[in-house]
Symmetry: D2
Subunit: 437 residues, 4 copies
């Protein structure tokens, strides 16, 4: 079968690249020129910096080494917009990214346009090296990750403004969360992790490997705001026996009394959302917990967090986008929804909130980081962080999969991160699950 | 066309107010929308915040209490743009001013316009209370102070951008600084401080009071960059015996090796200026020293800093703006110049650089702070700071006078602050001055 | 004279208790009265505090609830010497333990004696509850752990004294470390963890559970000082690609260039030991590495750290004390020795240095913390720490076993902590081990 | 009149030296061996360190340069016990002084004895250089200052022990403080400062110089605990308008609600004293205020603090030790007493509490620091500190004089520092003083 002559071999990839690049700018449309520089703490970055850094990624790892005759707009951007790649060189100090008012919004957009043009030209060439194809695929995923950060970082920065800026208006849902049920799994010798031959994955998802699981059960949906409120009202933030030692120290130091963005001072609990300040909706899936809070809530519930292997074992059988309503960024709610009914498996595993697991972020047996500077992408962070699974309302819909491993320090709360309960079953007990997985 | 009848009694004040308000916006003309939010440390504020806070001052202290029927644009601005007036209420945290992307640049300018209109209407009324007149005069001086801060804060924030943004291009001077001479003063019982009856002054300049001075001599001009370079090259930053104990601790902690903005790494010393990065001009008056550096340089020179009484005693005889060339902000150089020749008194006492004195910022004998919230303007800062005199290249020309007391913590360097030497003369010695003061 | 009839049922336990208690005081014999209060950082405690806190443990958890009519010497000690048991009550601030000059050394020893007497009386009673027996066993292990800390804490505090105090003189060894070999293990479905029915273990070693292992190899001995020196000389501390991101940040912040206590400034590397300052012995097993250093050394070696399951799988077949020479505290060297030859399994797995594993300290599947305040012993620390195995030259000889899990934050170096290399083998490859395990 | 032949020329000085040295050890008599190493913060030093450092002073500045053939006990002590003399060399880090358990108490006492012997031998020589005489006099004063610090530092360290150690029992006074009166002074051209020809003084008290004073009045005694309690009860610690800006920031950060050592939690106010925990005695002179508290109390009282010139002008006419009861350390109360009646001048100007003045610690006109390393004694601290006058219940009786300038940072409270009120009088008003000074 003949390809149309004008259709280059990598037209699909090129189109996906263009769409992804365009969506980053779409996310900035509701923002003012002033908003584009906001950075409320070293861990978050300004929207403009995200636009620039994702462009830097394509210029540094693809155009400079692979595009014949490519000339960068400004050599100094290599330093300014490097995030953490020591293999590339020194980096502009992260806490100061908000000080880069120059290059301004227009200059960054112009740089994006010129890099986009060069990328399309490169992919349009008759021969494109496999390495370039792989790096473009990586660059698309990288840009999607920064789109998610752009949204979560913006929410954090906006939350410091007493005017409670509205990023995008949102109609509140009046749906009810279904009662909590348990999905049981017999365990045994299973496999987890991704096989690169089956499609794009990050190096940290490999190698696919065997893992022994004891019988366990997983909640049919994540915890709701209402359930979390019950924990608060039961003195959850004042009872040291519910907390890990580091969590209790964090709580004492911060004076935390509720999830991030919550305000318990008024008559009814309220929180800041990207649609402005709102009363807390008890039916909604709770978000902006850190690991300590998720763990304390689980202990209070008489349960525990699932391991990442348990989570993946349950999730691998299920579609990433279930039904007509996506919990990802394409629904433009920028807020977790109310869980729907579970059926063949637990509901809302993908999207709405990242789910903290009980697993530390460590290399899988046999893991080897990718070669070169992109090898710094994942491997060097394998210490002191916990794994989260499933993606959130700020994740791109095509970006997630059951083997996807996200990771954050246990004290961080600015992601849409929630909690799904699990519990172990007696080893000898034959699982008679509500729903057999 | 004749104006006299319609000319309100306070037309002069109203015009001066309008001019001052307009100049704040003129200073922002070279800035991009993105620049308007820059804040590189808690001590400096974003340009937009300066525009808003100065507006807040008129609204809070004049329009709300005195303008009949005045309705603020947004009640929440009272909190957002209060700097440090506890008498008015709580304040938005100073280190977070850069997070106020909303209200944006246009909204702040619209607020300025509405407040300006209300102020003109108030001054246009047939009867204006003396208290209002006094507060308007204070508000003008307040706005001028923030104009100066806008410039110095911007320089500090811009300096963190490796692109070395140009605020306003500047032609380098090829003038030569004249040799250093000494102006001698016999001392005796003198008076310093301002008499409010003779024109506007801040409360901290009062009361005018007697002070005994021993014979002293004052340098004919501030120290130059070249002289300061000699101090550096003589190991000035490595010799503890030249430094105050707190200064040496500051130096060790910061790793300072030169004035702020200087870069000694290249072949020739360079610094960041508001006209971009430049080679250091040795003829130019040195700036961006803190008290410790000024004091160490003086000790290395075998001299000392003048007290504020000595400085004032010398300065009170001299015109604030000497000759055709002003060292103030109206020359739009935003950089200290080369000192001219001295004549009846020391040169460059006013403008170019603030001069550190050996005097702690303390109340004059009999000092009483103004009543009400504006009483927080000066008095509550009378601890831990040192007095500087004379104004800088960022000061408004009508703003300075011989009795004017500026004050900063001894470790701060972001002001255009320099050093003029002094020395004591033997008490018994009859002064035969080069120039008799 | 015959004892049998009067011999209480728990005489063995009572004797072991008395011996353990006495050894804590033996460890303090070389110390001056002044040494007993040393605390160089919040993480370490003064020797006197260790003597008091271990006494507190018996008084709080055993005598107060179980000894009829027991009257504490001083009720205020409950607060002063509680370490971290929130279930018992508030705690005296940890960083201030060195400020408790009162109760003094004699008072603490008197308290020890009175508690010891009450404990012996309790164990001498005709009926002793099983719970008491369990708590006494726990109290003995607890005291042994604090004996180890007493030694390592003291080394840390002493190291801040430029006089390099000698705790106990030591003859340097002239033994040679054998060449490094590899012990290979085929993996498969294994079991790890302790079964409480088989003898004392901590709750964190339970439950015994199944675990799948891929084929792996373990080094025949830990790395030596000489091998670690080669890493240093090859620029190990200057090459970011060898380090975890958090490790590189730690290194930058601390300016680390060698293991703790090392000094590279002289002609030959030297270190502070409990026998005073010594030249580094290249044959000796290297100690005082943190996790970041162990991990970077492994990466530089082209290897990795073993997981705790791998380590335990190899160790469970081996005697804890091998041959005539123990690597534990009973040899009174207070310093790691030179590894001997391996035979049926890797050498020096027990004693000399704790070995960092690649495993985060997390609950085993089905883990449940002990009930009551002693439930705070282990479980609440299961976050942000890494597992170490095998015990050190400061551990009590009867205290260790193959299932024993120690845990520290990855940045800490004051323990005798070293590194044993491991590597994965190709999954398909039939292991032809040098030595089949 | 003839001197006995065997009496060396400097026998008086030698005896005073011996007495002073002995008194340092007397002060340590109530202390246990464990107490000798206490250091609760970097600003205070352990008793043992004070004993060593004062010995270092004689060895370094006198014995090494002037005693023929003198051989130091241990050359390493030069580094260990140097406080802040950069001219001598590097210093052991101040916050770690408590880590010097070696040399121990006995070793330090032995060193003291050997230095004392060498000093007596030196003074016993037929010829003693004037420079040595001056340095011995300085060394005596230096030791007295450290005796005072030994007491105040010990109180601070002891206060961290919930057992509230008793240093020396004390009988509470039942005296009543007399009502507050005012002593008025007409001011005019006065002289302050010391003339070295008239007896020992520190360089910072010189030169004696002229100073113009406006008419003022000084309180007849310092404020009492009862008066200070009224300030607290009137919301003194909650009203920002009473505080300097830096003081309010200090208060917010520390959560201060009362003077140091006070505890308002019980039914009646209590404080920790060197005689243990006691109810606050309202008649007693209040102590342990910092400058911010003293200044806020004065503002609340509608008064102000005196300047150091005013204080000295009033004090210079009065005997340092008035009546039979001394407020100095020789009374061994280690606590401020109740003020007695004033007569020719204000009462309790000397002893009991240091009195904060409104004067920053700055060089007097014409000040020149002493030559050599002892020139670091005073001059390099002339920044950021405030002057206190009069000495406290921890000062040596022969140590004080009207010209004596003490200085501390305004936030510090661990000295026995109190407040005496002052006020200005109308310039034109002819003072009709209660008591004419």
């Amino acid at each position: 079968m003949s390809q149309p002559e004008t259709q280059p071999r990598h037209a699909g990839l090129a189109r996906r690249l263009a769409d992804t690049r365009a969506f980053s700018e779409t996310l900035c449309e509701p923002l003012t020129a002033e908003d584009m520089g906001l950075q409320a703490c070293p861990e978050v970055s300004p929207p403009r910096w995200h636009l620039a850094h994702t462009t830097w990624f394509f210029e540094t790892f693809i155009l400079k080494p692979f595009a014949p005759g490519y000339k960068p707009s400004d050599e100094r951007f290599e330093y300014l917009f490097n995030s953490y790649y020591n293999g590339v060189g020194e980096q502009y100090p992260r806490p100061q990214r908000h000080l880069l008012s120059r290059p301004g919004n227009d200059a960054v957009r112009a740089w994006r346009a010129s890099v986009d043009e060069a990328m399309q030209a490169l992919l349009n060439r008759p021969e494109v090296a496999d390495e370039v194809i792989d790096l473009v695929a990586l660059g698309i995923e990288h840009e999607q990750q920064h789109q998610e950060l752009l949204v979560t970082d913006l929410k954090f920065s906006f939350s410091h403004n007493p005017l409670a800026p509205v990023y995008r208006p949102r109609q509140d849902s009046d749906a009810q969360a279904p009662p909590l049920r348990w999905h049981e799994y017999p365990g045994g010798l299973t496999e987890i992790g991704a096989d690169p031959a089956e499609g794009f994955c990050f190096d940290n998802e490999t190698p696919r490997h065997r893992q022994w699981l004891e019988p366990f059960a997983l909640a049919s949906r994540p915890a709701t705001c209402g359930e979390y409120l019950a924990f608060i009202e039961d003195g959850g933030y004042r009872r040291p026996e519910l907390w890990l030692s580091d969590g209790w120290a964090w709580l004492q130091e911060q004076g935390a009394q509720a999830p991030l963005y919550w305000d318990l001072d008024g008559d009814t609990p309220a929180y800041y959302t990207l649609a402005g300040r709102r009363p807390v909706n008890p039916q909604e899936t709770v978000a902006h917990l850190n690991y300590y809070e998720a763990d304390a809530f689980a202990r209070w519930s008489g349960k525990r967090l699932p391991t990442e292997a348990e989570w993946e074992h349950a999730a691998v059988r299920l579609p990433v986008v279930s039904g007509s309503s996506s919990g990802f960024v394409d629904n433009r709610r920028f807020h977790p929804g109310v869980a729907g009914a579970d059926s063949e498996g637990p509901a809302q595993l993908f999207g709405d909130v990242w789910e903290w697991t009980a697993s530390a972020y460590l290399p899988y047996p046999g893991f080897a980081a990718a070669a070169g500077a992109v090898g710094e992408y994942n491997g060097k962070f394998m210490c002191n962080q916990m794994v989260l699974r499933g993606g959130s309302c700020a994740s791109a819909p095509g970006h997630l999969r059951a083997t996807y491993r996200n990771f954050f320090y246990p004290h961080l709360r600015w992601q849409f991160s929630g909690v799904r309960l699990a519990h172990s079953m007696e080893a000898g007990r034959a699982p008679t699950p509500t729903i057999i997985a």
